[in-house]
Structures are given as C-alpha cells and as structure tokens.
C-alpha cells in the first residue's frame, strides 16, 4: 500500500470517527485486550443494545427485552442506527493503526536515507573516492542514518509483538484481591 493511501486512510479516520487517530489506536488496543470489539448503547441509565464483533468473525447483538417491548419503533430505529454506526467506527480504527505503523516505518526509512545520502555526498566531496569508505564508517551521521533505517522493520516487529502480547494476556489473570481490579465472578 502506498504512503498516499495510508495518509488517505488516516484522514478518513480523522474525519469520520470522533477522537481521530488516538481513538483508533485505543480501539485497536481494546480489540486485542478483549479479543473483540464491544459497543454498548444506553437509553437512559440502562444498556439497551450491545454488539460484540469477535476476532473469529462472529457478531453478537444483545437487546434488552423491556426496551424492545416498550419503545416506539421510530425511537428503536434511530438508536439502532447510531449504535451500528458506532460499531463500524470502532472497527475502522484497525486500518488506521496499520496505516500509522506503515507510515512510521516508511518515515524512518526516508529520514535515514535522506540523512545518510546527504552525509555521504558531503563526505565524498570532502575526502574524494580514495578514503570514502573509511570516512563513512567513522562518520556518526552516516552510522546514525543506517541505524535509523534498520529501526523501521524493528518497529514493526515490536508493534506486532506488543499486540500479540495484548491478545494473549487480555483481560484474564487479573488479581482478584486488588481493589477495583478485575471483575467479580458471578455468584
């Protein structure tokens, strides 16, 4: 995918989803932690609609019976439309995160290449061909540029590793004795 396409994805996320790329990142992390996208919609104090989009492709929508029975059809339709709009927005966070990571790595490579090339040309002009290699190996600018370019694939691997860790650990294994941590088991 081209950087322009990535920028377009980010701009679309920025315009469509409230909260922009920060919300996109938070949604993606929540997706990994819960292994599902969870969107709840309230009508008054009660949760009346809840949709889970699971990683295995299952979508489960829970509806509160008393709300369904007692609410006028128009009101149900309006709230339902907004609810599923939110589900779609939450899912759109993922491509934005991928675009962010891709752009980040491409930016690192570009910065490294520009800085390294500039430094190499400057060194060549200064020392000529004869001792160019040894001069480049001793030049901090050149070495930093190479390191910057090497960092790009590392960054991508680190993000992948971190997301896997989130997915694996998720919401389990919480210390049940810690105050405010974890959730109570059903009686």
């Amino acid at each position: 995918m081209s950087p322009i396409a990535d920028v377009e994805i980010l701009l679309a996320t920025w315009r469509s989803a409230p909260g922009g790329w920060r919300r996109a990142w938070r949604d993606a992390v929540a997706f990994m932690t819960r292994r599902q996208v969870l969107v709840e919609t309230k009508d008054g104090p009660a949760i009346v609609l809840r949709t889970r989009v699971r990683l295995d492709g299952d979508v489960q929508t829970d509806i509160l019976r008393r709300w369904l029975d007692a609410t006028p059809r128009d009101a149900i339709e309006g709230l339902t439309r907004r609810h599923f709009q939110s589900v779609g927005d939450a899912m759109r966070g993922w491509p934005a995160v991928r675009a962010m990571v891709r752009l980040g790595t491409q930016l690192l490579v570009t910065l490294g290449a520009v800085a390294g090339l500039g430094s190499a040309i400057e060194t060549w002009l200064r020392v000529g061909w004869s001792s160019l290699l040894s001069a480049l190996l001793a030049d901090w600018w050149t070495l930093s540029s190479v390191a910057l370019m090497a960092l790009a694939p590392v960054l991508r691997r680190v993000v992948r590793w971190w997301l896997r860790r989130k997915l694996r650990n998720g919401l389990f294994g919480v210390d049940r004795k810690a105050p405010g941590d974890g959730s109570p088991a059903r009686p």
């Binding site: 699971r54 492709g57 489960q60 339902t80 992948r160 389990f172 959730s183 109570p184 088991a185």
Partner: protein, 246 residues
Amino acid sequence: MASFDLTETARSLLTMEANTIVRDNMTGEPMPPLPHALLDIAGDYAGLLCAIGVDLPAYFATPRRDPVTFDPGLVDNAGSVSDLTVSVDTFDRLRWAAKHALGARNPRITPARRILLDRIVNNSDAIKEMFKRFDASLDQFKDKSRAELVAMTIRRSSYAVPVDDLIQLQKMWDIGMEEIVAQTIVHITGDITTRVQSRLGQPGSEALFAIHRQSIDVSVACWRYLLDVIREIAGTTIQALIGRSR
C-alpha cells in the same frame, strides 16, 4: 507458555455468524479470569439442567458413578449443585446429564430447550478437549471450587492459554444459556443461512428483524478488517491461509 497459534480463528473467518439475543437484563461486566469463567459456564449449564428437572445432585453424588451409564431421569424438584470444580469431570458430568435429558420424552424438553441442551453437550465436549491442551500453568486451578478460587490470588502472568481457546471460551461465556432469537451464517462462498425462532414470525417482530439485519450488514462490512487483523498479528502460515481464501 502456550504457543501463539491463531489457525483455528483464521479458519473460522471463512464463515461469519451474526447472532441476535434478547436479554432480560444486561450488565457491563467483562469476562473474569479463566478459572472463574470456566466455573461461570459450568454454573450456567447446571442452572439450566436443574431448571429442566435433571437430578444433577445425583450426577455429582459421592461416590461418583459413571455418568455414561447412569441416568436418574427427570425429577419434579431438582436440587442445585454446589461442588462444581474447574475439572474435566465437572464438564463430563454436565455433558452426560444434558445428553440424557435430550433423550427423555418429557414435555419440559421443548424445542428451544433442546437447542440449549445440545449447546451444553457440544460446549462441554469442546472444553474437555481444551483441558488436554492446557499447560502445567493451569494445574494450580484444577479441581478447585469457587470458594477455593476466591481464596487464591490469580495473577495475570500465572497461567497461559492458547489464544484460539480463549476466543472460544469467551464466546461460550458471553452467550451462556441465552436463547439466540435470530442467527445468520454467511459463508465465504456466498451461501447465507438464517434461522429464526418460530414465534418471531408473528407481527410485532419487525423491529427485532431490523436490528438483526443491521447486525448482518455490520458483520459483512467488518469481515475485511478482521482478515487484516489476523494477517497483521498472526504468522506467515495464517497469512498464506487467508491469502488463499480471499
């Protein structure tokens, strides 16, 4: 440490399932730690079996009898079971209790309950298989009751479970013993199957159907994103699997 394998999850992405459930109440609680979640699932199953009239205490009585050959039948005032534990034995006994109830000729076994009993049999079998895959880190919780688990400190890093199993368990915990009023399965080949409860054919169910239809629309729209997610975090084997299937 459990290996990171999303093969089953990637395979299940070849079909999408949209379920609509009508609940009497909704709380926002997330799934608890795995040992508690297993006991929640077992408790839900035991609750339904007792409500139907299965003599569950007889299945869990000491000395334990072989549940395969032991069928005490349905009773009028079935007692509850308090000694459910995180074990294969618990899910095996629940499984056989549900299986025997399915074979009973009794008006209490309605078509809707038959589906729930089938779910107990299938999910109990799936959980029994998961126990074979659980590594030694979960041994500390095996055969523990709820009271014993509550007395323990369960830490985030104290056990590991295969991710595919976690996803499956989460679904079992989420759905519990709720009746699915409408279900649509979309296959990657384009086949679509929809099942609805017969009572939904009556007037007044339009709003429910409209919600289910929007749920299907969202499912299909999200499909590409889910493939992207799996491709990004899974290994090259799964990337090849998804690549072939697209």
